[in-house]
């Protein structure tokens, strides 16, 4: 796990020594701030719930930008080869990169805590619901990052990685919405795979083990697949 820490540090440095982290955080805070203030004005309710519904959409677009570089760049420049021959396991490489991107994601959403101050200023927010929302936000970030990481692992082009990542996340967002109201195992499966229902429960203030297990198991599945993809390069 020391190697994971090293990889994590390297990636975090790469993020914060280049403009990408600051640009992504600034763009995210502009859009989330816009939706927060607009929804607060419309609903006149001291809650984050309605603005967070839009936050999921913004995150679907910005998270792949965080992850697009992670493995695609290594594949393109060929630095993946020395990394594979270094005394680190594939899992340590993948997990270190995952943790770094996840950390950036959490730093990116952290400024939204300012909104709680605003809510307390104009009303009496339900802090329990806000805590649940942030638990969901962190877990959802893990899933989004792992999807972006997987896309980055299968391509050499960062732009392609970002575009495919955005499309994949939007599909995940939409299939849950599109299948709501329909019965049968197929639609139930779609609803389960889609992120919308799981995220919505957290924003209401409910922590449901179904949603927690969904996010953790889906993230674990994707990290497992990424490790296998990286590992396969070793044998080619």
């Amino acid at each position: 796990m020391i190697s994971t820490g090293t990889i994590f540090q390297r990636e975090i440095n790469a993020y914060f020594l280049s403009p990408i982290a600051y640009v992504v955080i600034a763009v995210f805070t502009v859009f989330s701030g816009y939706f927060f203030s607009i929804m607060l004005g419309i609903t006149q309710e001291s809650t984050l719930r309605y603005s967070l519904a839009y936050t999921q959409f913004i995150l679907s677009i910005l998270t792949p930008v965080i992850t697009m570089r992670l493995l695609a760049e290594e594949n393109k420049t060929g630095t993946i080869e020395p990394l594979m021959t270094a005394p680190v396991t594939d899992f340590e490489v993948v997990f270190g990169k995952f943790l770094a991107a996840w950390a950036l994601y959490n730093i990116m959403v952290a400024p939204t805590a300012f909104y709680i101050i605003f809510l307390a200023w104009v009303g009496n927010p339900d802090y329990g619901a806000i805590i649940a929302s942030y638990i969901g936000l962190v877990l959802m970030g893990g899933l989004f990052i792992s999807i972006g990481l997987m896309v980055s692992a299968i391509t050499k082009n960062q732009i392609v990685a970002a575009v495919i990542g955005i499309v994949a996340l939007l599909i995940l967002l939409v299939i849950g919405l599109a299948s709501s109201g329909s019965e049968g195992w197929f639609y139930s499966a779609l609803r389960y795979i889609g992120t919308y229902d799981h995220w919505d429960t957290f924003t209401k203030g409910i922590v449901d083990t179904r949603d927690v297990v969904y996010y953790i198991s889906f993230t674990a599945l994707l990290i497992f697949i990424v490790v296998r993809i990286v590992e396969s390069r070793r044998w080619r």
């Binding site: 914060f16 020594l17 403009p19 982290a21 600051y22 640009v23 955080i25 600034a26 763009v27 805070t29 502009v30 701030g33 816009y34 927060f36 203030s37 607060l40 004005g41 609903t43 006149q44 309710e45 001291s46 400024p111 300012f114 909104y115 605003f118 809510l119 200023w121 104009v122 009303g123 009496n124 339900d126 802090y127 329990g128 619901a129 805590i131 109201g181 019965e183 049968g184 139930s188 389960y192 209401k204 203030g205 409910i206 922590v207 449901d208 083990t209 179904r210 297990v213 969904y214 198991s217 889906f218 599945l221 497992f224 697949i225 296998r228 993809i229 590992e231 396969s232 044998w235 080619r236």
Partner: protein
């Protein structure tokens, strides 16, 4: 030579379009599968694309493998094997994910972190849901833009979470007319109203309108749980419970919508799927056979002996009586129940309970004071009050109602439901209460703690049943089905004026449900919704808007610029 090779490559359509054709095959398979799920059957429209698409994928992949010599060399063979290995491992992991998801959907827990338990249903609703034995289909016919649409879906999801007997389906009536028509056909009605929630159970159905879910007065409170639980009771219970309210002795009227009337509590009973009926005992000459609970709400005039005998007969035949006395109005007017109730282990006095700790300057009559009963020490264990101990029940001007000491000869056992707090007493000088401030007189007044309400029912019958209840002798079914009584020393607590106090309505409803032996409907009713209003003036809105879209984003921009500047140097 080079030119001809290039031409050959250019003309090789397989090389040019092979990848796209395989992609088209994949799209055809996915489309076919999608069509089959949309129409919920495997017909030609779904089988053809799946078949053709599958054939194309397999065929073209095979040709491509041969042409590109995927398996000809050791290196390419290894590459193909590694790819296959990754694919198989990924599918295997996806299967584990699917199994985890399957189990996860069946065994789960929910934790409501909201401060007021906003999404937690009341214990009463949970109790009703736990005891459901028939499946219920709930269909929402709401335009998604409607007020409280989200809250309606949220709360219905909670219902479905607590029982697998409830299935919730949402239809957008403007977009899905076919489904609306199907529902109308199934319900055998010509037209369905928009913005309705339909509850179906077997042949019974109940339509809850949007107006029933929202309180009509501003600020439009959401009261979905009350309306939906009522609908569930309506469609699952075969018959309504008949609750008879006795009239003719100055009792409070359930058609009276004034502050002193009890129309609010009658509406609450109707929501619990009860039929509320007035009863003049002298005219009827008997208590109707379908009477599940007989309610006497604050009589101010005496009952005739004939009427008391009719009530006694009713009780002897396993009747259920809820009696609310009213001493403050006419303290010296005997109602006649003082002689009847001791037969059931209940003792009623004429004095008025005084609790002077609360100042009521506007009320004027200092003897009629608030009495809070929401504490453990003020009530004994009883299913009527067990869930209400965290709620204040406010009683105004009650008379003491006590349980007689246990007696082997008495088949009824009375339990005290509520007591006045420490410092209260029963004032015997009722006549002068309005003129002077009462003082506790140790010689004449009733010493506290004073009990305010009592519930009585048949206990384990002693071997020799008393002469006063010969009908119960050798009757093995007497114990669980005998008479039940609940007597309160006050009626004001259920009037429209005081019914909004947290524990008042539930105390009454629990008493009725306990008497009617509807044990599953005991508990606390739906609480008022927790709407956290934000009060924003225009300046605050401007500050929030600009700080959110410009103030906060500028921080990463500044930090990023500093980093960029330093690295540049």
């Amino acid at each position: 030579m080079e030119m001809s090779t290039l031409n050959t490559k250019k003309n090789d359509w397989f090389e040019q379009f092979g990848g796209y054709i395989i992609l088209a095959g994949i799209i055809a398979v996915v489309a076919g599968f999608g069509i089959s799920r949309i129409f919920n059957l495997w017909g030609l429209s779904s089988l053809i694309p799946v078949g053709i698409g599958g054939g194309v994928i397999i065929g073209f992949s095979a040709v491509m493998a041969v042409r590109k010599n995927w398996f000809s060399s050791e290196a390419s063979r290894r590459k193909a094997l590694v790819g296959t290995n990754v694919a198989i491992m990924s599918v295997f992991a996806a299967c584990i994910f699917a199994v985890v998801g399957f189990l996860n959907n069946r065994h789960y827990e929910r934790f409501d972190l909201t401060l007021t338990g906003k999404y937690s249903l009341s214990p009463k609703t949970k109790n009703i849901l736990k005891n459901l034995d028939k499946p219920i289909v709930v269909t929402t016919l709401f335009n998604p833009g409607e007020m409280f649409y989200e809250q309606i879906l949220d709360i219905l999801k909670e219902y479905a979470y607590h029982t697998d007997k409830i299935k919730v389906e949402s239809i957008d009536p403007l977009r899905n007319r076919t489904k609306v028509e199907e529902l109308a056909k199934r319900l055998n009605i010509s037209d369905l109203q928009l913005n309705t929630v339909v509850f179906e159970c077997g042949e019974h159905s109940k339509h809850v309108q949007q107006s029933e879910v929202i309180e009509k007065q501003y600020p439009f409170k959401f009261k979905g749980e009350e309306a939906f639980t009522e609908a569930i009771l309506n469609v699952t219970q075969e018959k309504q419970s008949a609750i008879y309210f006795v009239t003719g002795h100055g009792e409070r009227q359930f058609e009276d919508f004034d502050r002193g009337g009890i129309s609010g509590i009658a509406n609450a009973l109707k929501r619990d799927n009860c039929r509320v009926v007035p009863l003049d005992i002298l005219t009827a000459k008997k208590i109707p056979d379908d009477c599940e609970v007989l309610v006497i709400a604050g009589p101010t005039k005496a009952y005739l002996t004939e009427e008391l005998n009719i009530i006694r007969n009713y009780l002897e035949n396993r009747g259920k009586l809820l009696l609310m006395l009213e001493p403050a109005l006419s303290p010296n007017a005997p109602t006649g129940f003082k002689t009847l109730l001791p037969e059931y282990g209940i003792a009623v006095r004429d004095d008025v309970v005084v609790y002077n700790k609360v100042n009521m300057p506007l009320f004027g009559i200092q003897t009629v004071a608030e009495i809070y009963v929401g504490k453990d020490e003020y009530a004994e264990e009883h299913s009527i009050t067990n869930d209400l101990k965290n709620y204040n029940t406010i009683i105004f001007g009650a008379c003491p109602v006590d349980a007689s000491p246990p007696n082997d000869q008495m088949p009824y056992q009375a339990t005290v439901l509520m007591r006045a707090p420490e410092g209260s007493w029963g004032e015997i000088d009722v006549a002068n209460l309005r003129q002077k401030k009462p003082e506790y007189n140790i010689d004449t007044d009733v010493q506290g703690p004073v009990s305010l309400a009592v519930a009585a029912q048949v206990k384990e019958l002693p071997k020799a049943v008393t002469q006063s209840h010969p009908a119960m002798a050798n009757d093995p079914s007497a114990k669980p089905q005998g008479a039940r009584l609940v007597v309160f020393g006050d009626v004001n607590f259920v009037t429209n004026e005081y019914i909004e106090n947290p524990g008042n309505a539930d105390l009454f409803r629990n008493s009725v449900n306990w008497l009617a032996q509807k044990e599953t409907q005991l508990g606390i009713s739906a609480k008022p919704p927790d709407f956290r209003k934000a009060t924003i003036n225009p300046i605050q809105m401007k500050v929030i808007f600009w700080v959110s879209i410009a103030g906060i984003p500028v921080i990463p921009v500044i930090i990023g610029s500093i980093v960029w500047w330093k690295r540049r140097r």
